[in-house]
C-alpha cells in the first residue's frame, strides 16, 4: 500500500479538567473510541462516526467532536470526498456502501419555494377558533356518483366505493423494515402512529408478532424478495404496498447481510438465520406495466378487494408516465420517493447520483395525472427528504395527498444522521440488531417523541393553512398559486408550475 493513512474524519477531544472519569462514554460508544488508561480516558478518534452518543451521555460536557480537523489542499473539483473514495476503492476494488440520504450539495428546491399568506383582501383563519380539516382519505375516488331516490325519499348510493385509508394528519411513517431498524424502533413508531391516527409501513421485513396489536395502523410491504409475505401477513395489514423502487437507490435491489439476520429477524422474514436476505433489482414476476397490474390485482384478489394497494416508485426521469401507468393498474395510491430518501445501506454512487428530487417528481406526476383525467384514480404520497412541516405544506401544494417521513422520525428518536447504519452498530439502538444496543431504545419514550413531532408538525400545518386562508387540506392540495419560486430557473418553474416571487 502506498496510500498511507488518510486524515481523521472526526477528532474527539476530552477536556480532562471537566472529565470525572464516570466511564459513560466508554459504555455508550459502540464503535470503540474510548478506553481508560492510567486513570484517564483515552480516545481513538479514527473509530468515531460522530453519532454523538458519548456527547449526549457525558454529564460534564467534557467531550468535543470536530469534523475534518485536517484540511486537504482545497480544490473545487477534487473534493475531500472524491479523493477519499478513490483511496478506498484503490485499496479494495469494491463498491462503496453508504448510508442515509444523498450526501451531495445539490440545491434544495423546497428552500427555493415560499408559501403565501393572506393580507387584507381575504382574511386569514385562526386555527384556535376555526375548525381546520387535516383529515385525509387515501385511495381511489369515484369520478362520478350514481344515486337513486327510493319511494320513501331516501337517497341510495349505487356506486360501489373503493376502500380508502383515513388519516388524521397527512403525515405517515414510511417503510423501514425490521432488519434495517430494530424491533424497539419499529415498536416506537407503531405506538406513535396508532395514537396519532395515521399509518406506518412495515418495509420488506415481514411483521413481527409484537407489532400485531398495531396492525390496524400498518401498511405491509411486498417487495421483490417477498420476505415474510404470506396470506396472514397480507390480511393483517390495513393496506398493502408494492415496492418497486426506493429513492436512495433507484433501479437496484437490497441485500440485508447475514450478520443482521438474527433469530427474530429470521423468523419474521421467514429465512434461515445468518443467511443473506437478497431482494433482486426487479420483481421477477413484473417485467412490464401489464405485469404490475397483475401483481396489484393478485394482492387484491388474495385479500378479496378489501384493502388499498399502493405502489412505491423511486423518483426518476419518467416518473410521470410511470405513475400514469400505475394509476391504470387498479392501484389506489402511488408513492413517489425522491432522491434524498434515506436508507440503511446503498451504494454511494446510487445514493448520490441516481434519481430526481421529490418536488419536481410530485409536481410532474400530479400534472400528468390531471392532464389524463385520472388524478382521482390514485392518491399521491410524497417521500424522500421531508424535514419539516413547511416541506409538507409545499409538497402538498405541488400535488401530493400525504407524505411519508423516515429519517425525521428516526431523528425524533435520537438518530444523529451519522449515516453509518450499514454497520449495524447504531449506538442509539435504532439501526442495529445487537440486543445490548437495541435495549437502549425505550419504545414507550421514543414513541412519545415521534408522536410529539407529528403533533407539532400538524399544528404548524394548520397554522400555515390558516394564514393562507385555507381551512381544509384539500384546498391546499395542488394549489400552486400559494407557492412562489425564489431564484429557481424558468425550466424548473415550468415543471413545478409555479410563478416567481413578485409575479
Amino acid at each position: 500500500m502506498t496510500i498511507g493513512s488518510i486524515p481523521l474524519r472526526f477528532r474527539v477531544d476530552i477536556d480532562h479538567e471537566r472529565c470525572m472519569l464516570c466511564g459513560r462514554c466508554m459504555e455508550n460508544c459502540s464503535y470503540g473510541v474510548f478506553r481508560k488508561d492510567d486513570d484517564k480516558i483515552k480516545v481513538n478518534s479514527r473509530n468515531c462516526v460522530a453519532c454523538h452518543r458519548c456527547l449526549a451521555f457525558c454529564p460534564r460536557d467534557a467531550i468535543d467532536i470536530t469534523e475534518k480537523p485536517t484540511d486537504y489542499r482545497s480544490h473545487p473539483l477534487w473534493t475531500r470526498e472524491v479523493r477519499e473514495a478513490i483511496f478506498n476503492q484503490a485499496r479494495t476494488g469494491k463498491i462503496i456502501l453508504a448510508g442515509m440520504g444523498n450526501a451531495l450539495p445539490y440545491p434544495v428546491i423546497f428552500d427555493r419555494l415560499v408559501l403565501d399568506a393572506c393580507q387584507v383582501t381575504n382574511p386569514s383563519i385562526d386555527p384556535l377558533r376555526e375548525p381546520m380539516e387535516l383529515r385525509t382519505y387515501l385511495g381511489k375516488k369515484p369520478s362520478q356518483l350514481a344515486l337513486r331516490e327510493s319511494a320513501s325519499g331516501d337517497i341510495e348510493l349505487l356506486t360501489k366505493l373503493t376502500p380508502n385509508l383515513q388519516i388524521e394528519t397527512p403525515i405517515m411513517v414510511g417503510h423501514m423494515s425490521y432488519g434495517a431498524i430494530s424491533l424497539n424502533a419499529q415498536l416506537a413508531l407503531a405506538k406513535a402512529v396508532s395514537r396519532v391516527g395515521t399509518f406506518m409501513g412495515t418495509g420488506e421485513g415481514g411483521l413481527h408478532e409484537s407489532l400485531y396489536p398495531y396492525q390496524k395502523h400498518m401498511i405491509v410491504q411486498v417487495a421483490s424478495g417477498r420476505f415474510g409475505v404470506d396470506i396472514n401477513y397480507l390480511e393483517r395489514g390495513t393496506a398493502i404496498e408494492i415496492k418497486i423502487g426506493q429513492g436512495a437507490k433507484p433501479g437496484i435491489g437490497g441485500h440485508l447481510p447475514g450478520e443482521k439476520v438474527c433469530a427474530d429477524v429470521s423468523c419474521t422474514r421467514m429465512i434461515p438465520e445468518g443467511s443473506d436476505a437478497i431482494s433482486p433489482a426487479p420483481h421477477h414476476d413484473i417485467y412490464s406495466i401489464e405485469d404490475l397490474k397483475q401483481l396489484v390485482r393478485s394482492l387484491k384478489e388474495a385479500t378479496e378487494w378489501k384493502k388499498p394497494v399502493f405502489v412505491k416508485i423511486a423518483a426518476v426521469h419518467n416518473s410521470a408516465a410511470i405513475a400514469a401507468g400505475i394509476a391504470r393498474s387498479s392501484a389506489d395510491a402511488v408513492v413517489v420517493d425522491g432522491f434524498r430518501g434515506g436508507t440503511g445501506a446503498a451504494p454511494r454512487v446510487f445514493r448520490d447520483h441516481v434519481g430526481i428530487p421529490i418536488e419536481a417528481a410530485i409536481a410532474s406526476v400530479d400534472a400528468k395525472l390531471r392532464q389524463q383525467g385520472i388524478r382521482n384514480e390514485v392518491s399521491l404520497i410524497a417521500s424522500g427528504g421531508i424535514r419539516e412541516s413547511a416541506d409538507i405544506a409545499k409538497v402538498i401544494a405541488l400535488g401530493a395527498d400525504a407524505v411519508y417521513i423516515g429519517t425525521s422520525a428516526l431523528v425524533a428518536m435520537g438518530c444523529r444522521v451519522c449515516g453509518t447504519c450499514y454497520r449495524g452498530q447504531c449506538a442509539w439502538g435504532i439501526a442495529t440488531q445487537k440486543p445490548e444496543l437495541v435495549a437502549r431504545l425505550n419504545p414507550d419514550e421514543a414513541s412519545v417523541q415521534v408522536e410529539n413531532l407529528i403533533h407539532g408538525w400538524t399544528l404548524e400545518l394548520a397554522e400555515l393553512m390558516g394564514a393562507a386562508g385555507i381551512n381544509s387540506i384539500e384546498s391546499l392540495r395542488g394549489n400552486r398559486d400559494r407557492l412562489r419560486s425564489y431564484m429557481l430557473d424558468e425550466a424548473l418553474m415550468n415543471v413545478l408550475d409555479v410563478k416567481s416571487v413578485g409575479a
Binding site: 473514495a85 447475514g258 434461515p272 454497520r423
Partner: protein, 248 residues
C-alpha cells in the same frame, strides 16, 4: 365422504369465480371441480384449506395458486405464467406445461409440472424451518432456472427424450437450496454463484420419495428415473454478495 361441487367457469371473470371457490371451501366442501376454465387468472389466490382439492379442467391464467396456503390444485391442461407464485402450502399438479416464473418466490408446498416450463422457473424460492418448497418438472426448463434461489428443492427430469436444461443462467445468484437435474449439465450454462457435481447415491436417496410421488401423480414408473444419473447444482457460497462492498 367428501362433499363436492362442480362449477362451470365459462364466461365467468376471476373475481366471481374465486368467490364461488371461497364460498364452497367455507361451506366445508373438499372436492371442487371447475370446468371450462379459459385464462382466468388468480384461481385459488390466497386460498386456505388443507384437505381441499380443486380440479381445473381447461387452461388457467397467470398466478394460479398465488399465496395459496393448503389446497391441492389439479390442472388438466397447461398453465400460464407463475403458478405457485409466493405459495405457502399445498400442491399444484399440472398435467401439461407451464409458462415463465413457475413457483416464483415459493415458500412451501409442491408444484409438479408434467411437461415443460418457461424461463426463471423456481426463481427466488426460499425455505424456513419446516417449510421447504419443491418444484418438479417432468420435461425441460428454460434459462435462469433457480435464479436467486434461497432455499427449497428443484428437480428437472427431462422425460420423453427432451434435454432438461439447455439455456444459460442456471442458478445465477443461488445462495440456498438445491437443484437436481437428470443427466449431465454443461458447465457453460451455469450462472454465477452456482456449482455442480454428480449427485451421490445418498443425495439421490433424499429425492427418491419426491420422484416417486411425482411419478404416481402422472402414472409413470419411477424406477428408471431413480436408476438414472443426476447432477446436483448448489450454491458456491451462502453469501454471494459478501465481498462486493467496502464501507464509505
Amino acid at each position: 365422504m367428501a362433499r363436492s361441487v362442480r362449477i362451470d367457469a365459462r364466461q365467468i371473470h376471476y373475481t366471481p369465480l374465486n368467490q364461488m371457490i371461497r364460498k364452497a371451501v367455507a361451506e366445508g366442501i373438499t372436492e371442487i371441480v371447475i370446468d371450462n376454465v379459459l385464462g382466468q387468472r388468480f384461481i385459488a389466490d390466497g386460498l386456505r384449506g388443507a384437505g381441499v382439492t380443486i380440479t381445473i379442467n381447461g387452461v388457467p391464467g397467470g398466478d394460479l395458486g398465488m399465496f395459496m396456503s393448503g389446497p391441492t390444485l389439479i390442472i388438466n391442461g397447461n398453465a400460464d405464467h407463475a403458478p405457485g407464485n409466493t405459495m405457502d402450502r399445498g400442491c399444484i399438479v399440472i398435467h401439461g406445461s407451464a409458462g415463465d416464473a413457475v413457483a416464483h418466490s415459493m415458500r412451501g408446498g409442491r408444484v409438479y409440472v408434467r411437461d415443460n416450463i418457461g424461463y426463471r422457473g423456481g426463481i427466488h424460492m426460499k425455505q424456513y424451518m419446516e417449510k421447504r418448497p419443491i418444484l418438479v418438472v417432468g420435461g425441460s426448463a428454460q434459462a435462469f432456472l433457480g435464479e436467486y434461489m434461497a432455499g427449497g428443492l428443484l428437480i428437472v427430469l427431462g422425460l420423453n427424450g427432451v434435454v432438461p436444461l439447455s439455456e444459460r443462467g442456471i442458478g445465477s445468484g443461488i445462495h440456498g437450496g438445491e437443484i437436481f437435474v437428470r443427466g449431465n449439465v454443461n458447465d457453460s450454462i451455469l450462472g454465477v454463484g452456482a456449482k455442480q457435481k454428480p449427485a451421490t447415491d445418498d443425495e439421490k436417496h433424499t429425492i427418491a420419495p419426491i420422484v416417486k410421488d411425482f411419478a404416481s401423480k402422472f402414472g409413470l414408473d419411477p424406477e428408471p428415473l431413480l436408476a438414472s444419473d443426476f447432477t446436483r447444482i448448489s450454491p458456491a457460497s451462502a453469501r454471494p454478495f459478501a465481498n462486493k462492498y467496502t464501507w464509505e
